[in-house]
Amino acid sequence: MSTEQSDLSLVQLAQRGDAGAFDALVRRYQHKVVKLVLRYVRDPAEAEDIAQEAFIKAYRALPRFRGDSAFYTWLYRIAINTAKNVLASRGRSPIRYEVDRADDDDYDVVANLKDTATPEALALTEEIRSTVTAAIDALPEDLRTAIQLRELEGLSYEEIAAAMECPVGTVRSRIFRAREAIDARLRDVFDGGLGRGEVIG
């Protein structure tokens, strides 16, 4: 089972008109899509507008998505085309960043955001980051190691199990419990008033 296949389960539900399934896909990829669009436009609010339009286009085109490629790859192309069309319609050129890189994971837009985001947005971003960091620091070591190997190193459960010399089921449990603890801290932050608006913009 891969990420692509888990996405496909949601895509298939969404293709049958399940709005909640599409919402789950949006929630999974909203950061990545905005981050991608920020290569084309400097203004984070404009990037969000373009990302929103890209998601709407994807939703409308979903019946034609056959699963030949990963959902995110398909969504990625829609977002890029949407951004390019917006720029073309306004007679503008993409900002100075390299715009057609297939892999956006290494692309760091934090520096760009520091130039463009509002102080409030940056403060909130920093608060989220510090909350997550604090929650990770508070985790037992086995949970912390498991979540770090997964999120930072990108290892599969099987690879983590081999590295930590434990069953795959234990890895799954450790990663879940780590996320559960961090999620609880994040909810405290959001429900306390932060994060209910926009992080950026």
């Binding site: 089972m1 891969s2 990420t3 296949q5 389960s9 949601l10 298939q12 539900l13 399940d18 709005a19 909640g20 399934a21 599409f22 919402d23 789950a24 949006v26 929630r27 999974r28 909203q30 950061h31 905005v34 981050k35 920020l38 990037a47 969000e48 990302a51 929103q52 998601f55 709407i56 939703y59 934090v110 955001l113 985001a117 971003t125 989220i128 980051r129 997550v132 960091t133 990770i136 770090q148 997964r150 999120e151 930072l152 599969s156 459960y157 799954r172 990663i175 879940f176 996320r179 559960e180 961090i182 999620d183 994040l186 909810r187 994060g195 209910r196 926009e198 992080v199 950026i200 913009g201």
Partner: protein, 245 residues
């Protein structure tokens, strides 16, 4: 649902997020995820946790509600437009059938009315003479409504089976016999002896019968029947309200 069950579900969700859940379970969790806002919030936070751990930017947080609202708005607008279109189509279809029927009836009626004027020329028209001669003693009962506003002319015999109606959709002045609003129908003046002058009706019925090639079969049959039904009975003019139906 027990705490253990909830934990198991969220454990499955976490594994699905990582693409580590078996396909069969994944479909089940996807359905749960699509229905459960709380699970979707956890799902969203998993993405946020990963981004924060990798020091990625967190732009686009809370974009999902905007996307959902925008999709909903557009679908509502489109379904509204589509609904108007459907209603418009239905309106057209509602109008189309009656208009078609009225067109046919109007054609026949106009021909009939024109025929009345034409046949009113008397001896100058041989067809009129023939028709009147042939039908003058044959119509049992003829009703000539002259409703002031819509000029519906009904030619009817005593027998329902032999009744004929011709609708005249042409607008004309009411044939009122007095200044007062007519109670029901304007009828031809009575001839001496109390027998109504049904000449126009004869002429109309005769004309329709004579020009039956342009009439519908049923209409043709009725008009002819009205003419030949009971040859020996006198003609009387009755109000429309009393006409057999």
């Amino acid at each position: 649902m027990s705490i253990k069950d909830i934990e198991e579900r969220e454990s499955q969700l976490s594994a699905m997020y990582d693409g580590e859940l078996p396909q069969a379970e994944c479909e089940l969790v996807a359905r749960r995820l699509s229905r459960d806002e709380n699970l979707r919030r956890s799902w969203e936070n998993y993405a946020l946790i990963g981004a924060a751990m990798r020091s990625e930017q967190m732009a686009g947080h809370r974009l999902a509600p905007k996307v959902a609202a925008a999709i909903s708005r557009r679908e509502t607008a489109e379904s509204g437009a589509s609904g108007r279109s459907t209603r418009s189509s239905r309106a057209w279809s509602r109008w189309a059938v009656p208009l078609g029927s009225a067109g046919l009836a109007a054609s026949i009626a106009v021909i009939g009315v024109l025929g009345m004027f034409w046949l009113g020329g008397g001896a100058s028209n041989p067809v009129a003479n023939k028709t009147e001669t042939a039908t003058a003693s044959t119509v049992k009962e003829i009703v000539i409504p002259a409703v002031p506003q819509d000029r519906t002319i009904v030619v009817a015999s005593a027998s329902p089976a032999s009744r004929a109606r011709v609708a005249d959709v042409t607008r004309a002045k009411p044939a009122a016999s007095s200044n007062a609003e007519p109670e029901s129908y304007v009828t031809p003046p009575l001839r001496e002896g109390g027998v109504a002058s049904a000449a126009p009706a004869f002429e109309l019925a005769g004309y329709v019968g004579a020009h039956s090639a342009v009439s519908a079969p049923m209409m043709r049959h009725s008009a002819i029947s009205a003419v030949i039904a009971t040859p020996q009975q006198a003609v009387a003019v009755v109000p429309m309200s009393e006409a057999p139906r």
